[in-house]
Protein backbone atom coordinates (compact mmCIF):
# COMPACT_ATOMS: atom_id res chain seq x y z
CA UNK A 1 0.00 0.00 0.00
CA UNK A 2 1.13 3.51 -0.78
CA UNK A 3 2.08 5.37 2.38
CA UNK A 4 0.34 8.74 2.68
CA UNK A 5 2.31 11.85 1.74
CA UNK A 6 3.80 13.57 4.74
CA UNK A 7 1.95 16.64 5.97
CA UNK A 8 3.98 19.84 5.70
CA UNK A 9 4.78 21.27 9.13
CA UNK A 10 3.49 24.64 7.90
CA UNK A 11 0.04 23.06 7.55
CA UNK A 12 -0.23 22.82 11.34
CA UNK A 13 -0.04 26.56 11.65
CA UNK A 14 -2.53 27.10 8.84
CA UNK A 15 -4.89 24.58 10.41
CA UNK A 16 -4.69 26.27 13.78
CA UNK A 17 -5.50 29.60 12.15
CA UNK A 18 -8.36 28.27 10.06
CA UNK A 19 -8.99 24.68 8.92
CA UNK A 20 -10.47 25.93 5.64
CA UNK A 21 -7.40 28.05 4.91
CA UNK A 22 -5.24 24.98 5.55
CA UNK A 23 -7.32 22.85 3.16
CA UNK A 24 -7.35 25.56 0.48
CA UNK A 25 -3.57 25.80 0.57
CA UNK A 26 -2.70 22.14 0.85
CA UNK A 27 -5.67 20.46 -0.80
CA UNK A 28 -6.61 22.95 -3.49
CA UNK A 29 -3.07 24.29 -3.86
CA UNK A 30 -4.33 27.83 -3.61
CA UNK A 31 -1.95 30.53 -2.71
CA UNK A 32 -2.34 34.26 -2.92
CA UNK A 33 0.05 36.81 -1.54
CA UNK A 34 -1.01 39.69 0.59
CA UNK A 35 0.94 42.15 2.70
CA UNK A 36 1.49 39.60 5.49
CA UNK A 37 2.73 36.82 3.26
CA UNK A 38 4.93 39.23 1.28
CA UNK A 39 6.60 40.36 4.53
CA UNK A 40 7.08 36.75 5.55
CA UNK A 41 8.68 35.93 2.20
CA UNK A 42 11.08 38.85 2.45
CA UNK A 43 12.18 37.73 5.91
CA UNK A 44 12.54 34.12 4.87
CA UNK A 45 14.65 34.97 1.84
CA UNK A 46 17.38 35.54 4.43
CA UNK A 47 16.99 32.31 6.35
CA UNK A 48 16.03 30.04 3.46
CA UNK A 49 19.56 29.63 2.10
CA UNK A 50 21.00 26.34 3.31
CA UNK A 51 24.25 26.74 5.21
CA UNK A 52 26.06 26.25 8.47
CA UNK A 53 28.43 28.25 10.64
CA UNK A 54 29.93 27.91 14.08
CA UNK A 55 29.51 30.60 16.69
CA UNK A 56 30.49 30.35 20.39
CA UNK A 57 30.85 26.58 20.19
CA UNK A 58 27.39 26.26 18.65
CA UNK A 59 26.91 24.91 15.14
CA UNK A 60 24.20 26.97 13.46
CA UNK A 61 22.42 25.30 10.54
CA UNK A 62 19.98 27.15 8.30
CA UNK A 63 17.13 25.77 6.19
CA UNK A 64 17.51 22.26 7.58
CA UNK A 65 15.12 19.63 6.14
CA UNK A 66 13.09 17.94 8.88
CA UNK A 67 10.82 14.92 9.05
CA UNK A 68 9.03 12.55 11.35
CA UNK A 69 8.08 9.16 9.96
CA UNK A 70 6.09 8.39 13.09
CA UNK A 71 3.73 11.35 12.66
CA UNK A 72 4.08 11.68 8.91
CA UNK A 73 5.37 15.23 8.99
CA UNK A 74 7.99 16.96 6.92
CA UNK A 75 9.27 20.50 6.59
CA UNK A 76 12.20 22.73 7.11
CA UNK A 77 13.62 24.60 10.09
CA UNK A 78 14.69 28.21 9.61
CA UNK A 79 17.59 27.72 12.02
CA UNK A 80 18.71 24.84 14.20
CA UNK A 81 21.47 25.49 16.70
CA UNK A 82 23.38 22.39 17.74
CA UNK A 83 24.60 22.95 21.28
CA UNK A 84 28.16 21.81 22.12
CA UNK A 85 26.77 18.50 23.45
CA UNK A 86 24.92 17.92 20.14
CA UNK A 87 21.42 18.78 21.37
CA UNK A 88 19.39 20.46 18.62
CA UNK A 89 17.73 23.78 19.45
CA UNK A 90 15.26 24.97 16.77
CA UNK A 91 14.75 28.71 16.20
CA UNK A 92 11.82 29.83 14.08
CA UNK A 93 11.86 33.31 12.50
CA UNK A 94 8.64 35.28 12.52
CA UNK A 95 7.94 38.66 11.01
CA UNK A 96 6.09 41.15 13.17
CA UNK A 97 5.65 40.85 16.91
CA UNK A 98 4.63 38.06 19.19
CA UNK A 99 1.14 36.87 18.34
CA UNK A 100 -1.62 36.16 20.77
CA UNK A 101 -2.40 32.64 19.66
CA UNK A 102 -0.18 29.66 19.82
CA UNK A 103 0.46 28.82 16.13
CA UNK A 104 4.13 29.60 16.36
CA UNK A 105 4.66 27.41 19.43
CA UNK A 106 2.88 24.57 17.68
CA UNK A 107 5.13 24.81 14.66
CA UNK A 108 8.21 24.90 16.86
CA UNK A 109 7.04 21.84 18.80
CA UNK A 110 6.55 19.94 15.52
CA UNK A 111 10.11 20.84 14.56
CA UNK A 112 11.36 19.63 17.93
CA UNK A 113 9.54 16.30 17.54
CA UNK A 114 11.11 15.85 14.10
CA UNK A 115 14.58 16.69 15.43
CA UNK A 116 14.17 14.15 18.23
CA UNK A 117 13.30 11.41 15.78
CA UNK A 118 16.13 12.42 13.43
CA UNK A 119 18.91 12.75 16.04
CA UNK A 120 17.75 10.48 18.85
CA UNK A 121 18.26 13.29 21.35
CA UNK A 122 15.53 14.81 23.38
CA UNK A 123 14.62 18.39 22.50
CA UNK A 124 13.00 20.17 25.40
CA UNK A 125 13.36 23.76 24.26
CA UNK A 126 13.42 25.96 21.17
CA UNK A 127 12.97 29.65 20.49
CA UNK A 128 10.89 32.04 18.43
CA UNK A 129 12.63 35.05 16.99
CA UNK A 130 10.42 38.00 16.17
CA UNK A 131 11.88 40.22 13.47
CA UNK A 132 9.58 43.12 14.43
CA UNK A 133 10.84 43.42 17.98
CA UNK A 134 14.17 41.60 17.40
CA UNK A 135 13.31 39.59 20.52
CA UNK A 136 14.04 35.96 21.02
CA UNK A 137 11.66 34.02 23.21
CA UNK A 138 12.48 30.54 24.51
CA UNK A 139 9.64 28.02 24.35
CA UNK A 140 9.41 24.85 26.49
CA UNK A 141 8.39 21.87 24.40
CA UNK A 142 6.03 20.42 27.03
CA UNK A 143 3.54 17.56 26.88
CA UNK A 144 0.60 19.88 26.14
CA UNK A 145 2.31 21.22 23.02
CA UNK A 146 3.36 17.73 21.97
CA UNK A 147 -0.19 16.47 22.32
CA UNK A 148 -1.47 19.46 20.32
CA UNK A 149 0.91 18.56 17.46
CA UNK A 150 -0.38 14.97 17.47
CA UNK A 151 -4.05 16.00 17.52
CA UNK A 152 -3.64 18.62 14.88
CA UNK A 153 -1.74 16.26 12.55
CA UNK A 154 -4.45 13.63 12.91
CA UNK A 155 -7.22 16.15 12.17
CA UNK A 156 -5.41 17.42 9.07
CA UNK A 157 -4.78 13.92 7.83
CA UNK A 158 -8.42 12.93 8.04
CA UNK A 159 -9.57 16.13 6.27
CA UNK A 160 -7.02 15.64 3.48
CA UNK A 161 -8.02 12.02 3.09
CA UNK A 162 -11.69 12.99 2.78
CA UNK A 163 -10.77 15.66 0.21
CA UNK A 164 -13.41 18.06 1.45
CA UNK A 165 -13.01 21.66 2.53
CA UNK A 166 -14.17 22.62 6.02
CA UNK A 167 -16.81 25.40 5.92
CA UNK A 168 -15.71 29.05 6.01
CA UNK A 169 -15.46 30.71 9.42
CA UNK A 170 -16.46 34.21 8.24
CA UNK A 171 -15.16 36.03 11.32
CA UNK A 172 -12.40 38.53 12.12
CA UNK A 173 -9.76 36.05 10.92
CA UNK A 174 -10.94 36.53 7.34
CA UNK A 175 -9.91 40.18 7.27
CA UNK A 176 -6.25 39.23 7.55
CA UNK A 177 -6.42 36.20 5.30
CA UNK A 178 -4.69 36.19 1.92
CA UNK A 179 -7.09 33.53 0.61
CA UNK A 180 -10.26 35.44 1.29
CA UNK A 181 -11.20 35.86 -2.37
CA UNK A 182 -10.82 32.17 -3.12
CA UNK A 183 -12.55 31.13 0.06
CA UNK A 184 -15.61 33.37 -0.53
CA UNK A 185 -16.54 33.35 3.18
CA UNK A 186 -19.26 35.98 2.80
CA UNK A 187 -20.91 34.13 -0.04
CA UNK A 188 -20.79 30.69 1.49
CA UNK A 189 -21.15 31.29 5.21
CA UNK A 190 -24.92 31.71 5.05
CA UNK A 191 -26.23 28.70 3.12
CA UNK A 192 -29.77 29.83 3.88
CA UNK A 193 -29.32 33.07 1.91
CA UNK A 194 -27.91 31.16 -1.05
CA UNK A 195 -30.77 28.69 -0.92
CA UNK A 196 -33.34 31.49 -0.98
CA UNK A 197 -31.66 33.26 -3.88
CA UNK A 198 -31.54 29.98 -5.79
CA UNK A 199 -35.18 29.30 -5.07
CA UNK A 200 -36.16 32.72 -6.42
CA UNK A 201 -33.99 32.47 -9.52
CA UNK A 202 -36.91 31.57 -11.77
CA UNK A 203 -39.32 34.11 -10.35
CA UNK A 204 -39.84 37.35 -12.19
CA UNK A 205 -39.19 40.52 -10.24
CA UNK A 206 -41.10 43.49 -11.50
Amino acid sequence: MESPDPIPISALQHWRYCPRQCALIHLEQAFDDNLHTARGNALHARVDTPGAETRAGCRIVRALPLWSDRLGLSGRADVVEFLPDGTPYPVEYKHGRRRVRDFDELQLAAQAICLEEMTGRSVTEGALFYAGSKKRRPVRIDTTLRQAVEDCTAAIRSTFAAGRLPPPVNDERCRECSLRDRCQPEALAIPEQQRQLLARLFEVDE
Binding site: E28, R164, D181, Q184, P191, Q193, L197, L198, L201
Partner: protein
Protein backbone atom coordinates in the same frame (compact mmCIF):
# COMPACT_ATOMS: atom_id res chain seq x y z
CA UNK B 1 -9.59 41.33 -4.68
CA UNK B 2 -7.92 43.81 -6.94
CA UNK B 3 -8.85 44.32 -10.56
CA UNK B 4 -5.48 44.31 -12.22
CA UNK B 5 -5.14 45.45 -15.77
CA UNK B 6 -5.20 43.26 -18.77
CA UNK B 7 -2.95 44.55 -21.49
CA UNK B 8 -4.56 44.14 -24.91
CA UNK B 9 -2.23 44.52 -27.86
CA UNK B 10 -4.00 45.00 -31.17
CA UNK B 11 -1.22 46.72 -33.16
CA UNK B 12 0.05 44.37 -35.89
CA UNK B 13 3.79 43.66 -35.74
CA UNK B 14 4.15 45.02 -32.23
CA UNK B 15 6.97 43.37 -30.29
CA UNK B 16 6.58 42.69 -26.57
CA UNK B 17 9.66 42.19 -24.46
CA UNK B 18 10.80 42.05 -20.87
CA UNK B 19 12.66 45.12 -19.63
CA UNK B 20 13.65 44.55 -15.97
CA UNK B 21 10.31 44.40 -14.15
CA UNK B 22 8.33 46.00 -16.93
CA UNK B 23 6.80 44.85 -20.14
CA UNK B 24 7.85 46.97 -23.12
CA UNK B 25 5.80 47.30 -26.29
CA UNK B 26 7.81 48.25 -29.35
CA UNK B 27 6.55 49.02 -32.81
CA UNK B 28 9.42 49.23 -35.29
CA UNK B 29 12.11 51.28 -33.55
CA UNK B 30 9.69 53.05 -31.18
CA UNK B 31 8.85 52.10 -27.63
CA UNK B 32 5.12 52.67 -27.40
CA UNK B 33 4.45 51.59 -23.86
CA UNK B 34 6.08 50.36 -20.65
CA UNK B 35 3.93 48.62 -18.06
CA UNK B 36 5.20 47.41 -14.65
CA UNK B 37 4.45 43.69 -14.43
CA UNK B 38 2.88 44.01 -10.99
CA UNK B 39 0.08 46.07 -12.54
CA UNK B 40 -0.90 43.24 -14.85
CA UNK B 41 -3.04 40.16 -14.42
CA UNK B 42 -3.08 39.25 -18.07
CA UNK B 43 -1.74 39.98 -21.53
CA UNK B 44 -3.93 39.45 -24.57
CA UNK B 45 -2.61 39.77 -28.10
CA UNK B 46 -4.66 39.99 -31.28
CA UNK B 47 -3.27 38.55 -34.49
CA UNK B 48 0.29 39.12 -35.56
CA UNK B 49 1.97 40.35 -32.39
CA UNK B 50 5.39 39.05 -31.39
CA UNK B 51 6.86 38.48 -27.98
CA UNK B 52 10.14 37.36 -26.47
CA UNK B 53 10.69 34.10 -24.60
CA UNK B 54 12.22 35.85 -21.54
CA UNK B 55 8.94 37.73 -21.28
CA UNK B 56 6.99 34.48 -21.58
CA UNK B 57 9.07 32.91 -18.78
CA UNK B 58 8.49 35.87 -16.55
CA UNK B 59 4.74 36.01 -17.24
CA UNK B 60 4.48 32.33 -16.33
CA UNK B 61 6.46 32.92 -13.15
CA UNK B 62 4.31 35.84 -12.05
CA UNK B 63 1.10 33.94 -12.93
CA UNK B 64 0.18 36.58 -15.50
CA UNK B 65 -1.76 34.77 -18.16
CA UNK B 66 -0.88 35.26 -21.79
CA UNK B 67 -3.69 34.74 -24.25
CA UNK B 68 -3.21 34.68 -27.99
CA UNK B 69 -6.28 35.59 -30.04
CA UNK B 70 -6.54 35.85 -33.79
CA UNK B 71 -7.16 39.24 -35.38
CA UNK B 72 -10.91 38.75 -34.95
CA UNK B 73 -10.65 37.95 -31.27
CA UNK B 74 -11.02 34.19 -31.53
CA UNK B 75 -9.05 32.16 -29.04
CA UNK B 76 -5.84 30.57 -30.29
CA UNK B 77 -3.66 29.71 -27.30
CA UNK B 78 -2.86 30.46 -23.73
CA UNK B 79 0.29 30.34 -21.66
CA UNK B 80 0.12 29.83 -17.96
CA UNK B 81 2.44 28.88 -15.15
CA UNK B 82 2.11 25.85 -12.90
CA UNK B 83 -0.02 27.61 -10.23
CA UNK B 84 -3.50 26.78 -11.39
CA UNK B 85 -5.21 23.53 -12.15
CA UNK B 86 -6.49 21.22 -9.50
CA UNK B 87 -6.94 17.56 -10.19
CA UNK B 88 -9.41 16.98 -7.33
CA UNK B 89 -11.66 19.75 -8.58
CA UNK B 90 -11.47 18.56 -12.17
CA UNK B 91 -12.26 15.05 -11.07
CA UNK B 92 -15.33 16.36 -9.23
CA UNK B 93 -16.31 18.39 -12.30
CA UNK B 94 -16.18 15.30 -14.52
CA UNK B 95 -18.27 13.33 -12.04
CA UNK B 96 -20.80 16.16 -11.82
CA UNK B 97 -21.11 16.47 -15.58
CA UNK B 98 -22.18 12.83 -15.68
CA UNK B 99 -24.70 13.41 -12.90
CA UNK B 100 -27.84 14.31 -14.82
CA UNK B 101 -29.63 16.12 -11.98
CA UNK B 102 -26.63 18.36 -11.30
CA UNK B 103 -25.98 19.12 -14.97
CA UNK B 104 -29.65 20.01 -15.48
CA UNK B 105 -29.78 22.22 -12.39
CA UNK B 106 -26.63 24.07 -13.47
CA UNK B 107 -27.94 24.50 -17.03
CA UNK B 108 -31.19 25.93 -15.61
CA UNK B 109 -29.16 28.42 -13.57
CA UNK B 110 -26.94 29.54 -16.46
CA UNK B 111 -29.90 30.11 -18.75
CA UNK B 112 -31.89 31.82 -15.99
CA UNK B 113 -28.99 34.24 -15.46
CA UNK B 114 -28.90 35.03 -19.14
CA UNK B 115 -32.66 35.50 -19.47
CA UNK B 116 -32.92 37.69 -16.38
CA UNK B 117 -30.09 39.93 -17.52
CA UNK B 118 -31.40 40.06 -21.09
CA UNK B 119 -34.82 41.00 -19.76
CA UNK B 120 -33.28 43.95 -17.90
CA UNK B 121 -31.80 45.16 -21.21
CA UNK B 122 -35.26 45.16 -22.81
CA UNK B 123 -37.00 46.74 -19.82
CA UNK B 124 -34.44 49.49 -19.66
CA UNK B 125 -34.99 50.09 -23.37
CA UNK B 126 -38.72 50.27 -22.66
CA UNK B 127 -38.19 52.93 -20.01
CA UNK B 128 -36.12 55.00 -22.43
CA UNK B 129 -38.29 54.39 -25.52
CA UNK B 130 -39.38 57.49 -27.41
CA UNK B 131 -42.64 56.15 -28.80
CA UNK B 132 -45.53 54.45 -27.09
CA UNK B 133 -45.63 51.61 -29.61
CA UNK B 134 -41.93 50.83 -29.20
CA UNK B 135 -42.29 50.90 -25.45
CA UNK B 136 -45.16 48.42 -25.69
CA UNK B 137 -43.17 46.12 -27.98
CA UNK B 138 -40.18 46.11 -25.64
CA UNK B 139 -42.39 45.42 -22.65
CA UNK B 140 -43.98 42.56 -24.52
CA UNK B 141 -40.45 41.26 -25.14
CA UNK B 142 -39.83 41.49 -21.40
CA UNK B 143 -42.99 39.47 -20.78
CA UNK B 144 -41.95 36.82 -23.28
CA UNK B 145 -38.62 36.45 -21.51
CA UNK B 146 -40.40 36.27 -18.15
CA UNK B 147 -42.47 33.38 -19.52
CA UNK B 148 -39.33 31.56 -20.69
CA UNK B 149 -37.78 32.10 -17.26
CA UNK B 150 -40.80 30.62 -15.50
CA UNK B 151 -40.81 27.66 -17.87
CA UNK B 152 -37.18 26.78 -17.12
CA UNK B 153 -37.59 24.75 -13.91
CA UNK B 154 -40.07 22.53 -15.76
CA UNK B 155 -37.51 21.62 -18.44
CA UNK B 156 -36.64 18.06 -17.53
CA UNK B 157 -33.77 17.44 -19.93
CA UNK B 158 -30.90 19.45 -21.37
CA UNK B 159 -32.34 19.60 -24.89
CA UNK B 160 -35.49 21.24 -23.54
CA UNK B 161 -33.36 23.76 -21.63
CA UNK B 162 -31.41 24.53 -24.81
CA UNK B 163 -34.69 24.89 -26.68
CA UNK B 164 -36.00 27.40 -24.15
CA UNK B 165 -32.71 29.27 -24.29
CA UNK B 166 -32.88 29.45 -28.09
CA UNK B 167 -36.47 30.60 -28.01
CA UNK B 168 -35.67 33.31 -25.45
CA UNK B 169 -32.76 34.48 -27.61
CA UNK B 170 -35.06 34.76 -30.65
CA UNK B 171 -37.61 36.77 -28.66
CA UNK B 172 -34.90 39.01 -27.34
CA UNK B 173 -33.13 39.67 -30.63
CA UNK B 174 -36.45 40.24 -32.37
CA UNK B 175 -36.69 43.46 -30.30
CA UNK B 176 -33.05 44.39 -30.54
CA UNK B 177 -33.49 46.95 -33.36
CA UNK B 178 -35.77 48.95 -31.06
CA UNK B 179 -32.86 49.47 -28.68
CA UNK B 180 -30.89 51.28 -31.35
CA UNK B 181 -31.46 55.02 -31.67
CA UNK B 182 -33.82 55.70 -34.60
CA UNK B 183 -31.23 57.78 -36.48
CA UNK B 184 -28.71 54.90 -36.25
CA UNK B 185 -31.01 52.18 -37.49
CA UNK B 186 -30.06 52.56 -41.14
CA UNK B 187 -26.42 51.88 -40.36
CA UNK B 188 -27.07 49.22 -37.74
CA UNK B 189 -29.89 46.94 -38.62
CA UNK B 190 -30.26 43.57 -37.09
CA UNK B 191 -31.86 40.68 -38.86
CA UNK B 192 -31.17 37.75 -36.58
CA UNK B 193 -27.88 36.47 -35.21
CA UNK B 194 -25.30 35.47 -37.78
CA UNK B 195 -21.80 34.27 -36.98
CA UNK B 196 -18.85 32.56 -38.63
CA UNK B 197 -18.79 34.96 -40.34
CA UNK B 198 -21.05 37.73 -39.07
CA UNK B 199 -23.05 39.16 -41.97
CA UNK B 200 -23.93 42.62 -40.72
CA UNK B 201 -22.25 45.30 -38.63
CA UNK B 202 -24.17 44.65 -35.46
CA UNK B 203 -23.36 40.96 -35.62
CA UNK B 204 -19.69 41.72 -36.24
CA UNK B 205 -19.65 43.96 -33.17
CA UNK B 206 -21.49 41.44 -30.98
CA UNK B 207 -19.27 38.57 -32.09
CA UNK B 208 -16.17 40.52 -31.18
CA UNK B 209 -17.49 41.47 -27.73
CA UNK B 210 -18.74 37.93 -27.04
CA UNK B 211 -15.38 36.47 -27.91
CA UNK B 212 -13.63 38.81 -25.48
CA UNK B 213 -16.09 37.92 -22.73
CA UNK B 214 -15.70 34.22 -23.50
CA UNK B 215 -11.95 34.59 -23.35
CA UNK B 216 -12.27 36.21 -19.90
CA UNK B 217 -14.62 33.44 -18.74
CA UNK B 218 -12.24 30.80 -19.99
CA UNK B 219 -9.37 32.43 -18.12
CA UNK B 220 -11.61 32.61 -15.04
CA UNK B 221 -12.41 28.87 -15.25
CA UNK B 222 -8.74 28.06 -15.48
CA UNK B 223 -7.84 30.41 -12.64
CA UNK B 224 -10.46 28.69 -10.47
CA UNK B 225 -8.92 25.30 -11.31
CA UNK B 226 -11.81 24.16 -13.51
CA UNK B 227 -11.61 22.43 -16.87
CA UNK B 228 -12.96 25.03 -19.30
CA UNK B 229 -13.78 22.37 -21.89
CA UNK B 230 -16.30 20.39 -19.88
CA UNK B 231 -19.62 22.16 -19.47
CA UNK B 232 -23.13 21.36 -18.32
CA UNK B 233 -25.38 23.32 -20.67
CA UNK B 234 -23.03 23.23 -23.64
CA UNK B 235 -22.20 19.97 -25.34
CA UNK B 236 -18.58 18.87 -25.30
CA UNK B 237 -16.82 19.27 -28.63
CA UNK B 238 -13.09 19.23 -29.42
CA UNK B 239 -11.60 22.68 -28.97
CA UNK B 240 -14.80 24.13 -27.56
CA UNK B 241 -14.61 25.80 -24.14
CA UNK B 242 -18.01 24.44 -23.07
CA UNK B 243 -17.79 25.52 -19.43
CA UNK B 244 -16.61 29.02 -20.39
CA UNK B 245 -19.63 29.16 -22.72
CA UNK B 246 -21.92 28.11 -19.84
CA UNK B 247 -20.43 30.85 -17.71
CA UNK B 248 -20.53 33.53 -20.39
CA UNK B 249 -24.31 33.19 -20.90
CA UNK B 250 -25.15 35.47 -17.98
CA UNK B 251 -22.61 38.04 -19.26
CA UNK B 252 -23.82 38.25 -22.88
CA UNK B 253 -26.41 40.93 -22.06
CA UNK B 254 -23.54 43.06 -20.69
CA UNK B 255 -21.81 42.73 -24.06
CA UNK B 256 -25.10 43.66 -25.74
CA UNK B 257 -25.43 46.78 -23.61
CA UNK B 258 -21.89 47.85 -24.45
CA UNK B 259 -22.57 47.29 -28.17
CA UNK B 260 -25.69 49.43 -27.92
CA UNK B 261 -23.95 52.26 -26.15
CA UNK B 262 -21.07 52.23 -28.65
CA UNK B 263 -23.59 52.59 -31.46
CA UNK B 264 -25.99 54.99 -29.80
CA UNK B 265 -23.20 57.30 -28.61
CA UNK B 266 -21.61 57.23 -32.05
CA UNK B 267 -18.38 55.79 -30.70
CA UNK B 268 -18.38 53.50 -33.68
CA UNK B 269 -19.58 54.18 -37.15
CA UNK B 270 -20.00 52.55 -40.54
CA UNK B 271 -16.33 53.31 -41.25
CA UNK B 272 -15.43 50.96 -38.38
CA UNK B 273 -16.32 47.95 -40.53
CA UNK B 274 -15.20 46.41 -43.77
CA UNK B 275 -17.48 44.34 -45.93
CA UNK B 276 -15.89 41.44 -47.76
CA UNK B 277 -17.07 40.16 -51.09
CA UNK B 278 -19.89 37.76 -50.53
CA UNK B 279 -21.21 39.64 -47.51
CA UNK B 280 -19.05 38.85 -44.49
CA UNK B 281 -18.61 41.92 -42.28
CA UNK B 282 -15.47 42.42 -40.22
CA UNK B 283 -14.32 45.03 -37.76
CA UNK B 284 -11.66 47.34 -38.99
CA UNK B 285 -8.34 47.55 -37.08
CA UNK B 286 -8.68 50.92 -35.34
CA UNK B 287 -12.26 50.17 -34.36
CA UNK B 288 -11.11 46.99 -32.66
CA UNK B 289 -8.76 49.04 -30.53
CA UNK B 290 -11.53 51.52 -29.60
CA UNK B 291 -13.85 48.68 -28.63
CA UNK B 292 -11.18 47.05 -26.50
CA UNK B 293 -10.66 50.36 -24.69
CA UNK B 294 -14.42 50.75 -24.11
CA UNK B 295 -14.60 47.13 -22.89
CA UNK B 296 -11.77 47.72 -20.44
CA UNK B 297 -13.44 50.84 -19.10
CA UNK B 298 -16.73 49.05 -18.66
CA UNK B 299 -14.99 46.33 -16.65
CA UNK B 300 -13.99 48.89 -14.01
CA UNK B 301 -17.63 49.59 -13.23
CA UNK B 302 -18.50 48.10 -9.84
CA UNK B 303 -21.81 46.27 -9.47
CA UNK B 304 -23.63 44.81 -6.51
CA UNK B 305 -23.66 41.03 -6.27
CA UNK B 306 -26.44 39.43 -4.24
CA UNK B 307 -24.02 37.28 -2.23
CA UNK B 308 -21.42 39.90 -1.38
CA UNK B 309 -21.58 43.03 0.73
CA UNK B 310 -19.26 45.09 -1.39
CA UNK B 311 -19.76 46.06 -5.02
CA UNK B 312 -17.47 44.12 -7.36
CA UNK B 313 -15.91 45.43 -10.60
CA UNK B 314 -17.60 43.84 -13.60
CA UNK B 315 -14.18 42.66 -14.82
CA UNK B 316 -13.77 40.45 -11.74
CA UNK B 317 -17.24 38.98 -11.97
CA UNK B 318 -16.27 36.04 -14.24
CA UNK B 319 -13.66 34.97 -11.66
CA UNK B 320 -16.13 35.36 -8.79
CA UNK B 321 -18.66 33.27 -10.72
CA UNK B 322 -16.10 30.65 -11.73
CA UNK B 323 -15.26 30.20 -8.06
CA UNK B 324 -18.95 29.92 -7.18
CA UNK B 325 -19.21 27.30 -9.92
CA UNK B 326 -16.26 25.43 -8.41
CA UNK B 327 -17.97 25.52 -5.00
CA UNK B 328 -21.22 24.20 -6.46
CA UNK B 329 -19.30 21.40 -8.18
CA UNK B 330 -17.57 20.55 -4.92
CA UNK B 331 -20.95 20.38 -3.21
CA UNK B 332 -20.25 23.27 -0.86
CA UNK B 333 -23.44 24.99 -2.01
CA UNK B 334 -26.75 23.66 -3.19
CA UNK B 335 -26.25 24.81 -6.72
CA UNK B 336 -24.74 27.40 -9.01
CA UNK B 337 -26.06 30.92 -8.53
CA UNK B 338 -25.53 33.16 -11.59
CA UNK B 339 -24.75 36.86 -11.35
CA UNK B 340 -28.00 38.68 -11.88
CA UNK B 341 -28.14 42.37 -12.63
CA UNK B 342 -30.88 44.35 -10.94
Amino acid sequence: MQLLNTLYVTTPDAYLRLDNDTLRVEVGQDTRLRVPLHHLSGVVTFGHVMLSTPLMHRLAEEAITLTLLDANGRFKARLEGPQSGNILLRQAQHRRAAEMAFALMTAHACVAGKIRNARQVLLRGAREAKSESERAQLERGGNDLAASLRALPGAIDLDTVRGLEGEAARQYFARFNLLIRPDRRDAFHFDGRTRRPPRDRLNALLSFLYSMWTSDCRAACEAAGLDPQLGFLHVVRPGRPALALDLVEEFRPFADRLALSLINRRQIDTTSFVEREGGAVLLEGDARRDIVVAFQERKQEALQHSLFKEAIPLGLMPLVQARLMARAIRGETEGYLPFVFK
